[in-house]
């Protein structure tokens, strides 16, 4: 493959910004799906479309890395960051998919709370990714992501505990919601991972 010696830094930042926007859009859509499920709800196919868009953007980023001799950051950091953002969307899509796959009858308050935190975390992630070029003014976004991830840990733990508070809760429901809470928590963890990676990039390139 022919490598370009002329760096196209703008492309990298542009794709990262789009990845951030896509992650936030996915979180908003999944929150809407959970809130309205099962009656007035977003179809999972729409969430799947955003997940595919995320995959396409990630592939575009890898293509850029493979064709650019000079990258704005270490290749490893670009790769890891792209993967973390992809994980955010993948786990959101998985949680959305489980609603239909498990024939969930209705959502749970704790899942709605997790979705709300994901909307907030991805909003800040998107803002940070949109300003990656300047590497300044990003700390408050990273702190906000961390706060939401901490809150998410607490909510996920409490949500799972609620499933085991009574011996006579349906085992089917326990299986359903343990998986769904887990997928939402994984997405929030991936937001935190992406935040850490951005923080590392800032330090390395200061």
């Amino acid at each position: 493959m022919r490598m370009s010696l002329v760096p196209r830094r703008a492309d990298f930042f542009g794709v990262f910004a789009e990845l951030g926007r896509n992650a936030h859009a996915t979180a908003l859509l999944v929150e809407e799906r959970f809130r309205g499920f099962p009656d007035a709800s977003v179809d999972h196919d729409k969430v799947k479309d955003l997940e595919h868009e995320g995959d396409r953007l990630t592939a575009e980023l890898y293509q850029l890395m493979n064709t650019q001799y000079i990258t704005p950051f270490d290749r490893e950091d670009i790769h890891d960051l792209a993967r973390a953002i992809d994980d955010v969307v993948d786990h959101l899509e998985h949680a959305s998919d489980l609603l239909g796959l498990y024939r969930v009858e209705a959502t749970m308050d704790q899942a709605l709370e997790q979705c709300r935190l994901l909307v907030g975390a991805t909003e800040h992630l998107s803002a940070a990714l949109g300003n990656l070029r300047h590497l300044s003014g990003l700390q408050r976004h990273l702190a906000a992501i961390k706060t939401r991830e901490d809150d998410g840990d607490r909510i996920a733990r409490d949500a799972v505990a609620a499933l085991f508070e009574d011996d006579d809760i349906s085992p089917r429901l326990i299986i359903q919601w343990k998986d769904i809470f887990g997928a939402l928590e994984d997405s929030l963890d991936a937001c935190d991972t992406a935040g850490h990676l951005i923080g590392n990039i800032i330090v390395k390139n200061a």
Partner: protein, 231 residues
């Protein structure tokens, strides 16, 4: 089948044994829930510890049309077993029995029960029969799903009293409601929409922090009493 033992462990164990007979029992935690279950689901079989299961919910004996009763003893006692059998109990189970014996004895009682007859509940002009998945207002059928008919029948059986989401969940879904679950909320909303679309003077009222109750505009709260009918 309604199960109420003296402690949750025993209730859960009896419920698990009851399921081997092909029945998903309703586990209740107090006499009020037991009476509600009887009014909602009709009378067939109650498995319970007579020390904690009020005699009023057992009826007097099967000949009076009360539910068949299987006694539960946390500790084996010949004297108490004899008393219950003389009192009309179809069987007496105790904690000394192994699971296989409990299941076999309960299976025999269930098999000897008469086929449960449909039990309808009425509240004003509203009639609900969850076993037949039917609901009607003054003879006009209402388009409810089986689940919705069960929920409506529980509300009707409560006779205008407010039921918590946890009690409704237990009565309709036959499991304990996990904290944060919105299943009752979703199904109440669906029912509300259908009742409103039917244009009938029946409303499911929310009492914030407490639960839901049924209101029929033509009835005052002081005079309406649910009537559970059956053959």
């Amino acid at each position: 089948m309604i199960v109420r033992a003296g402690d949750r462990t025993a209730s859960a164990m009896l419920a698990a044994v009851a399921e081997t007979t092909g029945t998903r029992p309703t586990v209740v935690n107090n006499s009020g829930e037991a009476e509600l279950a009887l009014r909602s689901h009709g009378r067939d079989l109650v498995v319970g510890d007579p020390d904690v299961t009020a005699l009023s919910i057992l009826g007097n004996d099967a000949q009076d049309g009360g539910p068949a009763f299987v006694g539960w003893l946390a500790a084996r006692s010949s004297a108490r077993t004899a008393l219950m059998l003389d009192g009309g109990a179809a069987e007496v189970l105790d904690a000394a029995m192994g699971e296989a014996e409990l299941a076999a004895r309960l299976r025999r009682v269930v098999q000897n029960l008469a086929v449960p007859v449909p039990a309808a509940a009425t509240f004003g002009g509203l009639t609900v029969n969850a076993r037949l998945h039917e609901a009607s207002w003054e003879g006009m059928p209402l388009p409810v799903t089986p689940r919705e008919s069960e929920l409506l029948q529980v509300l009707v059986a409560a006779g205008g009293a407010t039921l918590s989401r946890e009690v409704i969940y237990r009565q309709v879904w036959r499991w304990a409601m996990p904290r944060g679950d919105r299943t009752v909320h979703v199904n109440v909303k669906r029912l509300r929409d259908k009742l409103a679309a039917a244009g009938i003077p029946v409303e499911i009222v929310t009492q914030p922090g407490v639960g839901y109750r049924l209101r029929v505009d033509e009835l005052s709260e002081s005079r309406d009493q649910p009537v559970v009918t059956g053959l």
